[in-house]
């Protein structure tokens, strides 16, 4: 991780930087270990239980028995990898949106962005539109960007974070109404699949889905990590950022595009999984005791991956052999926390 000395992070005195750097290192190490252990667990558990050593042997060597090998390589490993990728992408997208709008409740779900992306996917599925599989993220991106554009226009109307979320929520309601209007035309099977998809699910995802999402996330994630400095400036507020020489509206548009691209890749393969984007950045800011986006962004990616993979593990094992869509777990855990954040935001607003 590179921390340049051009701008000290807001609210943190410069002399504490060495300590903070090592703190970031420790946190990153802990998170990587956690991710690795969850990975091993995710590969072990299931109807065909595999021991830990066996898992390591199968993944890292050519050894192991045939059946566990197939189960792990063809079913569990791609799903775990996709979960980690999606979690990282969501968390970084959330961190970017929160800083860019200066709004701690900003989240693709609450802003209606992921609903916009899902609408396109729903239309494609219900009307059996023949699009190449690889185009799905592009289409989701268009839907997400449409909503993002409206939100961007709304930033010119109001700067109040709460009003912004109200607009996002209304947009979300609009698009879910449209989604239902489209879904009605489907067959019962399509309806069932779409509804499970609309909660956000990793059930049955395989290497094809990884291949679909990977290029997008691999391209957008590094770009996203480069936005640390402008995000730090935006945290200071529009006027201050403008005064410091940042073209605010243009930068915000760019940040929106990258964040929505990350989100759209996830929506295309796993549906609009909620609240990871909201929670991960908040946890990171707490863990690191800083709001410096240059540190928050990469650590958010790790936390997001840990959160989503463990939620998916829970979704798989809670009512095993029946599997839940992982979105249900994240909504169940995320909503109360969002409620808490909301309360805090209001206390701060009135103070």
């Amino acid at each position: 991780m590179q921390v340049s000395a051009t701008l000290s992070p807001p609210m943190s005195p410069g002399d504490r930087r060495p300590a903070r750097l090592s703190r970031v290192g420790v946190v990153a190490l802990v998170l990587l270990t956690a991710l690795f252990s969850i990975g091993v667990l995710a590969l072990m558990l299931g109807i065909t239980a595999v021991s830990a050593e066996e898992v390591l042997r199968i993944v890292f060597t050519d050894g192991g028995e045939r059946v566990p090998r197939i189960v792990i390589w063809e079913v569990r490993l791609p799903r775990f990898l996709l979960g980690a990728l999606a979690g990282a992408a969501l968390a970084v997208a959330g961190a970017m949106l929160q800083d860019a709008l200066n709004n701690e409740l900003a989240e693709p779900g609450l802003l209606g962005v992921s609903t916009g992306a899902s609408l396109i996917v729903a239309v494609v599925v219900i009307f059996n539109i023949a699009v190449p599989f690889g185009m799905l993220p592009v289409l989701a991106l268009i839907g997400g960007l449409a909503v993002g554009g409206v939100i961007l226009l709304a930033t010119r109307i109001t700067r109040d974070p709460v009003r912004m979320i109200l607009i996002g929520a209304a947009l979300g309601a609009l698009f879910s109404a449209l989604i239902t209007a489209v879904i009605v035309l489907g067959s019962p099977d399509e309806i069932r699949v779409l509804y499970s998809y609309l909660v956000g699910s990793l059930i049955g995802r395989d290497w094809d889905d990884v291949r679909l999402a990977l290029p997008w996330i691999a391209a957008a994630l590094p770009i996203a990590l480069c936005f640390g400095r402008p995000l730090n400036l935006l945290q200071l507020g529009d006027d201050m950022a403008e005064g410091l020489g940042l073209p605010v509206f243009r930068t915000r548009t760019l940040i929106f595009t990258v964040a929505i691209a990350l989100q759209a890749a996830v929506v295309a393969v796993a549906g609009p999984i909620g609240f990871i984007a909201l929670l991960a950045p908040h946890m990171v800011r707490g863990l690191l005791a800083t709001t410096d986006a240059r540190q928050v962004l990469p650590i958010s990616a790790l936390v997001g991956a840990v959160l989503l993979t463990s939620a998916d593990l829970l979704a798989r094992e809670l009512f095993s052999p029946a599997e839940l869509p992982v979105g249900l777990i994240t909504i169940g855990i995320g909503s109360p926390i969002a409620l808490f954040l909301l309360r805090r935001l209001f206390i701060r607003r009135t103070a």
Partner: protein
Amino acid sequence: MATFDTVHESANIIPDVRPFAVRRFPLFLALSLGVIALLIVLHIAVGTLDFSPVQIVKALVDQAEDPLHRQVVWGLRLPRALVAIVAGAMLGLAGAILQTVTRNPLAEPGLMGVSSGGVLAIVIYIVFGAGVSADSGLILPLVGLIGGMTAATLTYLLSYSNGTDPIRLVLTGVLVAGMCSAFTSLLLLWADDYQVQRIIRWTVGSTSGRVWVHWETLYPIALIAIPIGLVSAGLANVLQLGDSVARGIGQRVELARLFLLFAASLLTAGAVAVVGAVGFIGLIGPHMARRIVGGDVRRLFPMSVILTAALLIGSDILARTLTIGWIGIITGLDIPDTAGLPVGAVTALLGAPFFLVLLLRRKHAL
């Protein structure tokens, strides 16, 4: 109506520049009621069997030449038209109340999670309620009503801390609604094909197949809730001024708000319980009403009732006459030739553009 009289007197001295709808509000209201009556006739007239207006009137007064006419008009079409009118009226009033109470022009009846809660309860009953097939006409609305009111209570309690803040209420409602719809999706995994078809009609909102049974469960709620809502206009007018002003005038703000929210939730839950979560109608109706008669709640509430009722029955006429198979033929998409849209889909499709324009134009109000 004293205010209206004083207005007429002063009009002799200073020319009254207010729009016609405000100056002659009672007359305007009567005219709108006439439009509704026309819409009802039109609603009954269209369908697989087309009737002439004369035939409809004859059938209604029991003078039909063909007994089949009477059966179709009385047994199928009239109750559906009445259900659409009353459900629209309830949603419109609920929307008007909520927009006033929360001072948020984007508020809609589903705001406190009422619609999603009602739908969730109905879906639970459809999936797990044993042997629900024929006699669900009476039970389902009750279940939906309870579900909707439970969700509203939950939202209110969760957003309460030293009183409620309207905006916090809205956002809490968004979260509660999100959870309810997530669980609805989960339940779909357990539903069989037939149940899925039924459930989806509730989640989108539909008036098809609504007959006298449904009317009988709808009108008692409407009879209680609509007067409550209309009577509370005075409370809402004061509340609209802002909490501190209202408190200064001597209103017990928290109590007034609770009362209004209760009325709105009851109206929404009642309507959703019978026609499902019809979207946007309750947002657009009150908006258009405000455009026409202004922000004074004593005019706004009745106008919202009538206008939204007209919108819903109008959308239902569209839903019954539009088949969208031609879209499939033109574009080559996979749309069944006979596909009709449920009314909720029509309101969503019509409401969406309207809403976007609204959102981007109303700068000061946001």
